[in-house]
Structure formats: C-alpha cells, structure tokens
Symmetry: C2
Subunit: 414 residues, 2 copies
C-alpha cells in the first residue's frame, strides 16, 4: 500500500508509452537467438525475415491494405519525411517545370510542418490551413483551398497537443471526388487538345496519435500515405511504418541497399519491427473499444475534478471531437512549465505540449492557431491518459494539483 502511494504517475502517454510486456516477450528472441540479417539467404536470415513478414501482415491487416504497401522506417518522423519528400521528389523528377500547390494544416507535427516550410522556400505554393477553436480543420476551408495545381495534401489524423480528431475520411472522400472530376474533364476534352493526363492529388496523414483509438483503415480514410510510430502504441522506440498505396510513386530518401522494395535502404530493425507488429496486433477492435471507454471515463473524472476544484481553468480539448486520452487545460495565471515541474517533484508526469518541442520556450503554435492568446498558451498543461491509468491515480492527481495551482498563482506577478 505504501509502495502504491509512492508509485509515480505517468500522464504523458502522448509523448511515449511503456512497451507492453507481451510486446517485449515477442521481441526478445530476435536479439540474440533469431538474430540473422533478413537480407541473408541462409536459415538465420530467413528466420529473421519470417518475423518481419508476420509483423508486416499484422500492420497491413490493421491498415486494411496489402503487405507490399507497408514500408518499415525508424519511426514516424522518418515516415513523414519519406512520405512528403519522397512524393515531392518523384513529382519534381518527372515534372521539373511544373508549379505545384500543396496543402497542410497549421497544427501539424514539426515532422510535417517544417518540411512544408522547406518546400515553400524551394518555391512550392503552400497553403497552411487554419483550424477552428476546437483544433480541427474545417472541411469547407479545405474544399476552398484546393486549386487546379494542388497535388499533395498532408493533414494529421489526431493532434498530439489537444487530441483533436481531424476529418480525414471527409477530406479523403473529397480528394477522391476532385481526382475523378479532373480525370473526367480530361477525358471529355478532344484528344488533340488534351495535353498530359491531369495530376492526381495525393493524400498523406500522420496517424501517430490515432492508432491507439481510431479506425485506421486506409480504404475507409481514402488516404494514399499514412505514417505511424511504434513507441506511441506500447511498442518500441526506433521503429515506425509508412503505408504507401500501390499506385503511388515515391522516391527513396535513404539510399544504399534497395531494401523495402527500393523505398527505404538499411538493414531491417528486426526486433523493433516484430515489436511494432505485436503492438498493433494488441489493438484489435474489441480491446480498443474497451480501452477507449475506460480511458474516456477516467479523463472525464479528471476534468470534472479539476474544473470543480480549481477556478479559472479552460479546457482546450473538445470532448466531442477528440481521442479519449487527452485533457488539455489552461490554468490562467499559473505558468505551464512551473506546473509541470511542481507535479514532477511529487511524481506526476505531464507535459506542456508536444515533447518534441518541449525544450523550446515559444508559445505552442497549435494553441495560437486555435485562437488562444500567448499568455493563456503559456499556462497550459496536457494530461494524456493511457490504458494502464487507474482511478486511484486520477484522484490523486486532482488532490495534488489544487494546492500547486494555488501556490503558483500566488507567486505570479500578475
């Protein structure tokens, strides 16, 4: 009991998750026993390749696609880089003189946002879509943004900071419609006036924060490219995957060995890939529904406790349009970083936003895009619950938090 009381509480599951024991058990034989290089012809190599094949099947089943459409990477960041730079590289190689328009949202992960900024510097016409106050892209804004020379769209499935779910299915359907219209118009033009076949719009989504909770059927979503990560879904760090639809051409970014059907060179990270496969296997529909319900219940308990006990709190997560893990608050008059450190001192781990940028002192660009002002932004804390979070933990956090906020507000100069 004493031990339970002293146990640390982890409410930063959006930054990373512990490897599930079942996942680790599945990985273990691939370190020192089935250790072959999957590129090797002999039985050691083939044994390792079998592990990779099984994992690839699990990922493909989850994404409702073919095994040949899965490219294993070192993580979601690499998957995003490969998706975006890979498709742009292939497009520019085939059409060096065309002027392209590409679309993303203003609340993407840096692994998408920074790449679009680089492409903008390179001369691409880039549209950064705004978001509504609840942190979601407006489908009408998206429809308006499409131009005749739009060739690529990248919108995340779930925002990592506030947990908002983007209308990926709707966007995907609209893109499909536009692509059909472009083709029809071209077919109806007299052959001698037609010119080249029109460009299709390719659609990428970074689904890193969605995989634990949402339907990721690539057919349902109508996406051409989808990134995911191992360590956000109780799998290991250092591994991820990119779905590349069979008819979509991407150029490799990392060269030298022609692995993964010429799409990603480098010896396969066998144990990592096996772990990713097992982590995805654990996300069957029934388990996911059960976990979603449980996590959402605890999140609502946390929100009720905080808003009841602490005045002047703003909940930035829209409960009707978010994954169940997220509860993002602004504690007006208290400094986010100070709350984080105070909670850490009593064994509670939370975040001020995305771990990827947590060393930066800039206000969150996601919150600014949602129309939250800089001062309020700086008072923000993200709680992200996981499948092993307990009611006891949530109650303890509510109790702990109240005096911390009170003290910090008293210390504040304002």
């Amino acid at each position: 009991m004493q031990q339970e009381k002293n146990k640390k509480i982890y409410l930063d599951h959006s930054a990373t998750t512990p490897v599930d024991k079942k996942v680790l058990v599945t990985m273990l034989p691939y370190f020192s026993d089935k250790f072959g290089n999957p590129s090797s012809v002999h039985s050691f190599g083939q044994e390792a390749m079998t592990g990779v094949d099984v994992a690839r099947e699990k990922v493909a089943e989850f994404l409702d696609c073919s095994v040949s459409e899965i490219v294993f990477t070192s993580g979601a960041t690499e998957a995003d880089n490969l998706a975006i730079f890979g498709i742009i590289k292939a497009l520019k190689r085939k059409n060096p003189n065309d002027k392209f328009h590409i679309i993303t949202s203003s609340i993407e992960h840096p692994a998408v946002l920074e790449l679009f900024k680089v492409l903008q510097e390179q001369g691409f016409e880039v549209q950064f879509l705004p978001v509504k106050a609840n942190g979601t892209v407006d489908i009408e804004d998206f429809k308006q943004a499409i131009k005749d020379n739009t060739v690529f769209v990248s919108i995340m499935y779930v925002n990592s900071e506030v947990g908002s779910i983007q209308p990926i299915h709707e966007i995907g359907k609209w893109i499909q419609k536009i692509n059909k219209l472009r083709l029809k118009k071209w077919q109806e033009t007299e052959p001698k006036n037609r010119g080249d076949k029109p460009f299709a719009i390719y659609f990428h989504t970074d689904a890193t924060q969605a995989v634990n909770f949402l339907n990721c059927s690539t057919k349902h979503l109508h996406v051409d490219l989808l990134s995911l990560s191992g360590h956000k879904i109780y799998g290991p760090k250092g591994v991820g995957a990119l779905f590349v639809k069979s008819d979509v051409l991407i150029d490799a970014i990392q060269l030298g060995g022609h692995h993964e059907n010429n799409r990603r060179s480098g010896t396969l990270n066998v144990s990592g890939i096996v772990g990713l496969g097992e982590a995805i296997k654990l996300l069957d529909k029934k388990t996911t529904e059960k976990n979603n319900k449980k996590i959402d219940k605890l999140r609502r308990l946390l929100i009720a406790g905080i808003t009841k006990n602490i005045p002047n709190v703003i909940l930035n997560t829209d409960l009707n349009q978010s994954v169940p893990s997220h509860a993002h608050f602004s504690f007006i008059g208290a400094e986010g970083e100070a709350i984080l450190i105070s909670l850490d001192l009593v064994g509670v781990a939370v975040s001020t936003g995305s771990a990827c940028a947590s060393s930066s002192l800039q206000a969150s660009s996601v919150l600014l895009a949602m129309g939250i002002n800089e001062e309020v932004s700086h008072s923000s804390i993200r709680f992200t619950l996981g499948k092993n979070t307990t009611e006891t933990e949530i109650k303890k956090v509510i109790t702990i938090l109240q005096p911390i906020i009170k003290r910090l507000r008293q210390m504040s100069p304002k």
Copy 2:
C-alpha cells in the same frame, strides 16, 4: 554431445551479429520501466536521457572525440546518408555555383557508392578510385586523384566482402596536409587577390566493419566524419552513429523536431542507443586484442584446412592487410550460391558477399574491382568468424565443405 553436433554454425558475422547477453541486459530496463521520451522535461524523460548520455559518453570515448560530436542514427546506412548528403547539402547551400570534385573508392558499401552515383548525376565530378588486387586503395592513386576543387572524400575503413583494411590514417594525414597547404597558399596571396577562403577537403569513413577489430580514434585517423552500426558489433539492429567533427557543418536530412543538435530529428531510440553504448564498451583494447588473436587463429585454421583439402581454391583475402574475421574464397568450378545453399542445408551459414546485395545475381563489384573475372567471382564464398566461433565449428566446416565442393564441381557443366 548430440545437441552440440546438431547445433548450427554461424560464419556470417560480417552480415550481422547476435546481441551480446550483456548488451541485452543493459537494454532491457529501457523498454517498459525507464521508458520515458528523452525530450520530456519530467523525471521519466530525464531518466531515459541519462541512459542516452551514458551511451554517448561510451561512443565518444571509443572514437576519441567529444560527446557533442556524436549523432545517433537508425544505423550505418542512415549515418552514411547523413554524412554524404548532409555535407554536400551544406556545401551547395553556401556555394550554389561552385563545381565540386569528390572522391570515393570503387569498393564501397552501396550506402556510399549509390550516393556518389546520384551526386554524379547531379553534376558533381566524381572519382571512383580503383583498388589493388588485395582489395585496398593505393595511397599514391589517392594522392594523384586530388584536384584543386576536391572537397569531399569517403573511403571505407574495412571492406565487408574481403575484409581488406584501407589506409585511412595515411589518407587522413594527406588530406590534412593538403588542407594546410591550401590555407597557406591563400594566406600568402596578397589580400586584394585572395578571394574567398579556400575549401577544405572533408574526410568520411564508413567504419562499420572495423569497429570490432581496429583502432577507431578519429584523431588518429584524421577523419571528419565516421559511420558505425550497432548490429555489426554484438549490439542491436536499428541503431548506429555518425561522428561529426565539431568544426564540420552538415545539414540535416531528416527534419522535424531538432533532436541531436539539429542534425537528426526523431524521438531517440533509447534502448537501441543504450545497447550500442554497451556494445562499444565491451570493445576495450584488451578484449579486442584477445578476440583478434583468437579469431585470427581460427581463420588460419579454416584457410589451412580448406586449401589443404580442396584443390583449385583462391583465397581473396590478404592476410597481411585484413581484419581477422574474414576468409573469402573462390572455389573455381563451383557456384557460390550453390555452395551457400548446400552449407545452409547442413546448418552452416555463410555468404556469397554482402548481405545487402545478396538477392542480386550480379557479380560482386568489389571482386571485379580487384581484377577477379566474372566467372571466378561467381564461385566465391565469404566466411566471417566472430568472437564466439569455436575450433570445433571450424573443423566441422572444413570436413563438411570438401564433399560439397566436389559434388558441385561434378554437377557443373564445365
């Protein structure tokens, strides 16, 4: 005893190695216990970062450099891509109109060779150095190759196919001399006629196959960039490192998060990095000397047995200029792929060359560069011994091999 007899024999350590049990034990806590994201501010994150810091110190100590000069990657292929494309990207960004000359050898790993071919297509002047019959670059050829506009050299430390050791220290020293001369000449020019400061030549070596056996002090080698891999040194797959000398500017290839001092974005693969650090720690000077001696003795036993028992065999590894692991043979009149498969059927794992290209049926470009003809190339087998290889295993392989070669030669149409 029966079990020992049936145990498989692994003689493909150049393709990959089993994770050392000590390495695995060091990694294990970082999966489900110390699982934080090192970018997180809280104690879970800092605990993970401590693991990374310790590993970084071990790698830096081994490479005789500062911790800030180590960039962790997903493997040697990524390290090579980052070294080559990273330095070229930075050079081109700062000097878009300069015409550069770059040098590599004709026996590099595809992660170097392919990149130089891409750069050649992009308009770089590329020199692929020939090698001598023993698979080493001639230092005089290298000196001759340097031109006034040479800015980058990449030569591997040890060739993975035949095990030949390249004169990295001598090349590094020569480059240092040229750089000093260029600077001196510039300083002696009248200021008004000087122009911009002259370009330095940057020197990269892929040391993947050297780390187990050779001195990798970057100061001794006079290199600016050095790549290495975890899984070739009894560490895990999916992790590697690039040494980048403090005064060398490289542009990141994988963007989005500014990890590793803006040189490589993406959540750190903590368990992998910890494993890499421990694997490198096990390579202390004393252990390495002991292992080198033991492995070399077994290699000589293998070579003596094969050349005594089997006629018409060519040893392609130069015992005076190679790491102790490698024994590369051509069995004239027998097909390499057939030998590999026959050995695999009786539980012996070898390779026809590099695992990275083993699915290709082309003759090895390394052997061709060494002046070996295509037919002889196709009859080749690489044995690579490891630290756990035993005398019993070597003796068994000698006994097994003789009838296999005899049978295959009888089957051969020639």
